[in-house]
């Protein structure tokens, strides 16, 4: 085994594991690591302006590639600045590998007043990850990275942490570098799959519920094929958007909280849920009528049955599980014309109602969609238009819709869009955000300008934490501390050397099309007051 420093062990491991993009900000604790990083050209490093940006960009890259997004964190504030994207990746099931520095191994957590000393950094990050390891020397680094990456593949994708005390970057040891490996994922119990296939084939009014696991495991082709064989309408969650093109006759979109779709669910006699957890928002706080005959395929064995009782829980990767069901159907093709028409009718009822009652919101969304080709990536975060877009911007391809549904972090859209663009440079990328949220992460405009990451960001600007304001007024009849003093976002963009544009809601479509032709980082300020998404009873 070759003798090398811990820093070399990190860099050589990343190369061997075929990781080509890493995000971060260098600091004293990672200086030696960066010194080694600059001596190779296989791993590209993206220097950001706040470590939260590194984490969010890594999330963007992970969500468009399906592979673990990777970041370096320095000790103390550098690590803690990444706490929010770690929480986000955990909450929304995104694979991240966070390689973080720590203080000298001999001095850890003794209140010594060392620079960047935390009370218990490892304790903090063990609670923000699915798996974490603090290495006890350079020789352990490749195995720790390898194991972390294995877990992002075989488990529900969530962040892993490899923590390296600073002295181990410079220490030398005999190190065994491990190569990238594809690990087998669980494919589910064969008998359960047979039984499930029979239930679905025999049901009269089956539905499919496609969650984010369908996207992260790459199961969209199988899911669509299964839906077609079963002739079963597909409901997606926000995270599951792209599991089936939303103009497919079997797609009923992400409308499960709407009355007509709830009634459809009440009539259904069997549901197949794939890679979903029936969380708070997709189920309107567990209030929707999920059919009693529920078959739930999930890579996380603790999920089936947790929020809604299941008839069959299948511990499987979404793609393998769905493929297993297709195989078990053995060529059977179902015909349920009437049921599919009912689903299409329910879908149309909701859309027609929204067109009637929310023409402004619907027109904006139509304009955004029409300005973008099908393969364009849309990143959005919590703000009023974002709330609408979860349901009413149709998505046609997988991994083109990036939203932080579960953790609900403000400021997600813009840096995630940057990471997505870096990982998929050939695709147009647009971020949809609010005036409050944008300022959480707007410093990354400097990163975009410096590296020419040409993302177009649309700010739906109501000079308020508008979604919260609506909540206050609804729940308490009055609102407090929600109106904002904002920068002029056009001038703000220009101060960074980016393009700043302003558009009315009516002009947005044309302005967005124009912005995409500029091949520059671009901000579009859209002054507009929107209503909350409407819910039909």
């Amino acid at each position: 085994m070759p003798l090398m420093t811990g820093s070399d062990a990190v860099v050589q491991s990343l190369i061997a594991e075929e990781i080509d993009l890493v995000f971060g900000i260098l600091g004293y604790h990672t200086e030696h690591l960066y010194g080694r990083l600059m001596q190779q050209d296989k791993v590209r490093h993206i220097l950001v302006r706040h470590e939260q940006g590194a984490g969010f960009m890594a999330i963007g890259a992970a969500r468009v590639t399906g592979r673990a997004g990777t970041l370096f964190s320095t000790a103390g504030p550098g690590a803690l600045n990444g706490a929010t994207p770690m929480g986000e990746a955990y909450g929304d099931s995104v694979p991240l590998l966070n390689i973080m520095a720590e203080d000298m191994s001999q001095y850890l957590y003794q209140d010594r007043g060392i620079v960047h000393e935390s009370q218990d950094q490892f304790g903090i990050f063990s609670r923000l990850s699915q798996w974490s390891k603090q290495v006890s020397g350079p020789a352990e680094i490749p195995a720790a990275i390898h194991e972390g990456l294995r877990r992002t593949q075989v488990n529900r994708p969530r962040p892993v942490v490899v923590e390296i005390p600073v002295d181990f970057f410079t220490d030398e040891a005999e190190v065994d570098i491990l190569r990238a490996e594809t690990h087998d994922r669980p494919s589910g119990d064969a008998a359960d799959i047979q039984r499930a296939a029979r239930i679905l084939a025999e049901a009269e009014r089956p539905l499919i519920w496609a969650g984010g696991g369908t996207i992260s495991s790459g199961a969209w082709a199988e899911l669509q094929s299964l839906a077609e064989r079963l002739d079963a309408p597909v409901i997606t969650t926000s995270s599951g958007k792209g599991s089936i093109p939303e103009d497919h006759p079997l797609s009923v979109g992400n409308l499960a909280n709407q009355g007509p779709i709830k009634r459809l669910m009440s009539e259904s006699d069997a549901m197949l849920a794939v890679g979903a957890r029936f969380g708070y928002l997709p189920t309107a706080k567990w209030s929707i009528p999920i059919p009693e005959r529920l078959i739930h395929v999930d890579i996380d064995s603790t999920q089936p049955g947790k929020n809604f009782p299941v008839e069959i829980g299948i511990h499987a990767d979404a793609r393998l599980g769905v493929q297993g069901l297709i195989d078990a159907l053995d060529g059977a093709e179902c015909e349920r014309g009437e049921w599919v028409s009912a689903a299409q009718g329910a879908h149309k009822t909701v859309w027609d109602e929204m067109e009637r009652r929310a023409p402004v919101e619907m027109a904006i969304q139509r304009a955004v969609r029409q300005a973008l080709p099908d393969e364009a990536i849309i990143a959005a975060d919590p703000h009023l238009l974002g709330y609408w877009a979860r349901s009413f911007i149709p998505v046609y391809q997988p991994r083109t819709w990036l939203y932080d549904l579960a953790f609900g972090t403000l400021g997600y859209a813009f840096p995630v869009a940057l990471g997505a663009k870096l990982a998929a440079p050939g695709k147009p990328v647009v971020a949809l955000t609010g005036d409050g949220g944008f300022l959480f992460t707007s410093q990354e405009l400097a990163t975009a300008v410096q590296l020419g990451i040409n993302v177009v960001t649309v700010i739906f600007n109501d000079n308020a934490y508008g979604a919260i304001k609506e909540d206050f007024l609804r729940d308490y009849g009055r609102a407090y501390e929600v109106d904002l003093v904002n920068p002029d976002f056009v001038k703000y963009a220009e101060s960074f050397g980016a393009v700043g544009l302003r558009a009315s809601p009516e002009q947005l479509g044309e302005t967005l099309k124009h912005a995409l032709t500029l091949e520059r980082p671009c901000l579009i300020d859209v002054p507009v007051t929107l209503q909350r998404p409407l819910v039909m009873s």
Partner: protein
């Protein structure tokens, strides 16, 4: 007993505990607390643009005024966004009261996909701060708040976090709001104090190290009295700056690594009084600095005493009453000896005085000139600020602030805003680098909304240049330290604040003075070469 919602109980309890300022951002989870705020005219709320800002503002507020402010956040991202300032407050022993919501009690730790759910929020918060509770019942809220405040006031200060489950925010219950109890400072054990005094009085050449604990305990006056009685030179840590006026004849300033004259002073000393200092890595060159054998250590945190250097006398007590008693029970030294000592100190001060060649020295001198004696300086992690401990003289406690231990970039601007909220009549300057400014610059909006006359000096060298220099020294080349930065003048104007560019110390001094005449912040871009 009054009936209140959990949200109302939180506010009534902090108000009863003497907290009248909250920094935060409203969210769905905290809506019930914010609604209750409308009925609490005696509590001021400052709305921020990122929860990190709320945390740093509460930190700056506490460090500047000695009072406790509350940072209020939502569950999940609100908690992770404030993680860094809580880590900063923990590392610097700054009292920040953090109140946040958490999931309904029945949902905690179940991984059900709840909005804003963390894997283990309580464990996370408990790993960051030294004191943490999750309340169980609405009726428990006043007691938990009182406990937190007592902990921060009676012991070593530091952040405390209280989690309020969502289902309690709007739930009504009978609650008893206790009257505020100001803890009595912990008195020293009389016999130990007598022995310590005897040791110090018997020593020929005692020295005194004043740490941040002297400032936190408001113990400057008795510390100076003890120094004068002993004719002992006083040096400080970075957080101890201002414990003794740096123009006091017995002050040798803030010890700086590599200053041989300091180390000569230490090696000739036969006793050392350490007050409110961890004897940290930074202040002892990783514990390689030889200290006198007779160390008498006063600390409010008993765990610190003797931890890194053995103490011949450890006094676990509040610094103020301890030093007061020491001063009362010490004889004054002969005048001749005192004069000699002052001459020695003057020689040391001459040898460490700024050469005036480094740009940092000129900039710091300009800031000092623009700031009155009681003006407040907030430092960040940037090249010029690294010279501040040595080259920026400080005359009063609670006037010099730095993220010295945790070392957080972007601390100074929001912390300065917090200080200004606490002490609107005092003049404040924030120094920050171009890299650091980007971390927290959204709070320009907050400062503008508050109409604060606050000069923010952006020391612009186009990158993380501290690291650039280190790289070039070590590797002869560099990776990614130079930054594309915005045009800070245009950035400031985009926010609607004043903004100017200056290039010399004298212009800087004028620009700071001009900034004080405006009812809004001023971004001053100081371009370094």
């Amino acid at each position: 007993m009054p009936v209140m919602t959990g949200g109302q109980a939180v506010l009534a309890s902090i108000e009863a505990g003497g907290v009248d300022t909250i920094f935060g951002i409203p969210g769905v989870h905290t809506a019930g607390i914010y609604d209750a705020l409308l009925d609490r005219p005696n509590i001021r709320h400052v709305m921020c643009r990122h929860e990190q800002g709320a945390g740093f503002m509460a930190d700056g507020y506490a460090r500047a005024s000695g009072k406790i402010a509350c940072a209020l956040t939502i569950t999940g991202p609100g908690v992770t966004n404030i993680a860094t300032p809580l880590g900063e407050a923990q590392a610097e022993s700054s009292p920040v009261l953090h109140v946040c919501t958490t999931l309904e009690s029945s949902m905690v730790g179940r991984d059900v996909g709840y909005l804003h759910e963390l894997r283990d929020q309580s464990g996370l918060v408990g790993s960051i701060v030294g004191w943490h509770r999750r309340v169980r019942r609405v009726s428990d809220i006043p007691g938990v708040v009182a406990d937190a405040l007592h902990h921060m006031r009676a012991g070593r200060p530091g952040p405390a976090s209280i989690e309020v489950p969502l289902d309690l925010v709007d739930k009504r219950s009978e609650v008893k709001i206790p009257r505020m109890v100001t803890p009595e400072p912990l008195e020293p054990v009389a016999e130990v104090l007598r022995q310590a005094i005897r040791l110090l009085v018997a020593s020929a050449n005692p020295v005194i190290l004043a740490g941040g604990g002297v400032v936190a305990a408001d113990a400057s006056k008795p510390l100076i009295e003890v120094a004068e009685k002993l004719s002992a030179p006083v040096f400080t840590t970075v957080n101890g700056k201002g414990a003794v006026p740096e123009d006091h004849p017995l002050s040798v300033g803030c010890r700086w690594r590599g200053d041989q004259s300091f180390d000569n002073l230490l090696s000739s000393a036969d006793a050392m009084l350490v007050v409110g200092s961890r004897l940290s890595a930074r202040n002892t060159d990783n514990w390689r600095l030889p200290l006198p054998r007779n160390i008498i250590q006063i600390d409010i945190d008993s765990r610190i005493i003797g931890r890194h250097y053995p103490a011949v006398k450890g006094i676990h007590a509040h610094a103020r009453p301890t030093l007061e008693k020491m001063a009362r029970n010490m004889p004054t030294r002969p005048v001749e000896l005192h004069r000699n000592r002052i001459r020695e100190i003057e020689a040391i001060r001459r040898s460490t005085r700024a050469s005036g060649e480094e740009p940092a020295v000129g900039i710091l001198a300009a800031v000092r000139e623009a700031l009155p004696r009681d003006g407040l300086l907030f430092n960040d992690m940037t090249t010029v600020c690294y010279q501040g401990p040595r080259h920026f003289p400080v005359y009063l406690p609670r006037t010099f602030f730095s993220p010295v231990y945790f070392g957080t970039l972007g601390f100074s601007v929001p912390a300065a805003i917090g200080a200004k909220v606490a002490m609107p009549e005092r003049k404040v300057v924030a120094l920050v680098g171009d890299g650091g400014f980007m971390f927290t610059s959204q709070e320009l909006s907050t400062a503008l909304a508050l109409e604060l006359p606050l000069p923010i000096v952006v020391l612009n060298d186009g990158g993380y240049m501290e690291l650039e220099v280190a790289f070039r020294r070590t590797y002869g080349r560099t990776i990614g330290c130079s930054l594309e930065t915005p045009d800070f003048v245009r950035l400031g104007r985009a926010f609607g604040v004043s903004a100017v560019r200056v290039g010399s110390p004298s212009d800087l001094c004028r620009a700071i003075r001009a900034a004080y005449r405006r009812r809004r912040p001023t971004v001053i871009d100081y371009t370094l070469n």
